[in-house]
């Protein structure tokens, strides 16, 4: 396992993050190398770090960037789910009436959103 991979795994395994002044000891590398690895991971947007104090020493608290969860809300138009799911009809999206109904529901969805605002 490469050092970047090991570092990321170590940080991911800790829910509250890892202090940089402890990280290099855990990885059994020197602090300069650790700093370079951290910079690399930060540039790849895999981790974030914030200033912190640990055992009276100024350091950084490093946390992993949580991967953005994919949202499936766009399958809904209002309360109607995509009519293409489980559809057994001959697929002709150009003239499909069920799809037309779903598209029309998008207007209702917009109106509800406007009312809520």
């Amino acid at each position: 396992m490469e050092i970047e991979e090991r570092t990321l795994k170590l940080i991911s395994d800790s829910k509250d993050g890892v202090y940089q002044n402890e990280l290099w000891k855990m990885l059994e590398i020197d602090s300069r190398k650790c700093s370079r690895v951290i910079t690399k991971l930060m540039n790849s947007d895999l981790i974030i770090r914030e200033s912190a104090v640990n055992n009276g020493a100024r350091t950084y608290l490093i946390k992993v960037v949580a991967p953005e969860e994919e949202s499936y809300d766009l399958l809904l138009a209002g309360e109607m789910f995509s009519p293409c799911a489980g559809c057994r009809l001959a697929c002709q999206p150009e003239i499909c009436e069920l799809l037309s109904t779903w598209i029309n529901q998008l207007t209702l969805e917009d109106e509800i959103k406007k009312d809520e605002e």
Binding site: Y72, L75, F81, A85, G86, E94, I95, L99, I103, T107
Partner: protein, 167 residues
């Protein structure tokens, strides 16, 4: 653990199996194997609906089925188990399918001119409308030109959202 209260998950399951199918899933044991008759008895859902729902679930890989042969009678028993663990990948596939179909629809809406019956009976492309002499074949009303720009706008917006969400 799949949240059956999630509106998207509910919508998907209702679309596949109907309200009664969802009702059955909600009342089904989350773990352990059961027969169709046991499900019908425990959930109060009719046996034919239970079987239909299980068939659709198995087809969509939302339930696991195992066959067991009784050594003395030789009868086969089908044992079922809910498996909603992979539902997210199903939703991802549905999103791709919807995206593709909306794209085709958008192209058709942008490339054609539409005529509709004011009574809501039919919606024709120009060629079909002209073949009917711009009269509704169902009620005889004059077909009217439809400004489909609101539909194009809605489609474009949702396609953009889907594209951003997928990237």
């Amino acid at each position: 653990m799949t949240d059956l209260n999630d509106p998207v998950v509910r919508g998907y399951l209702i679309q596949l199996m109907g309200e009664e199918g969802l009702e059955m899933i909600e009342k089904m044991p989350a773990e352990g194997e059961v027969t169709d008759e046991q499900i019908a008895e425990a959930t109060g859902v009719m046996l034919n609906i239970v079987r239909r729902t299980l068939f659709i679930m198995n087809e969509n890989k939302l339930a696991i089925c195992r066959r067991e042969r009784d050594s003395s009678s030789g009868w086969l028993t089908y044992l079922w188990q809910l498996d909603l663990s992979d539902i997210e990948s199903h939703l991802a596939k549905e999103k791709k399918k919807l995206f593709k179909n909306l794209q085709l629809r958008l192209e058709s809406e942008e490339d054609n001119v539409f005529y509709t019956c004011p009574e809501g009976c039919v919606r024709f492309q120009f060629n079909d409308a002209s073949e009917c002499e711009f009269l509704c074949p169902a009620c005889g009303e004059d077909l009217m030109f439809e400004d489909n720009s609101p539909m194009v706008e809605k489609l474009t917006k949702r396609l953009d959202e889907l594209k951003t969400n997928n990237s």
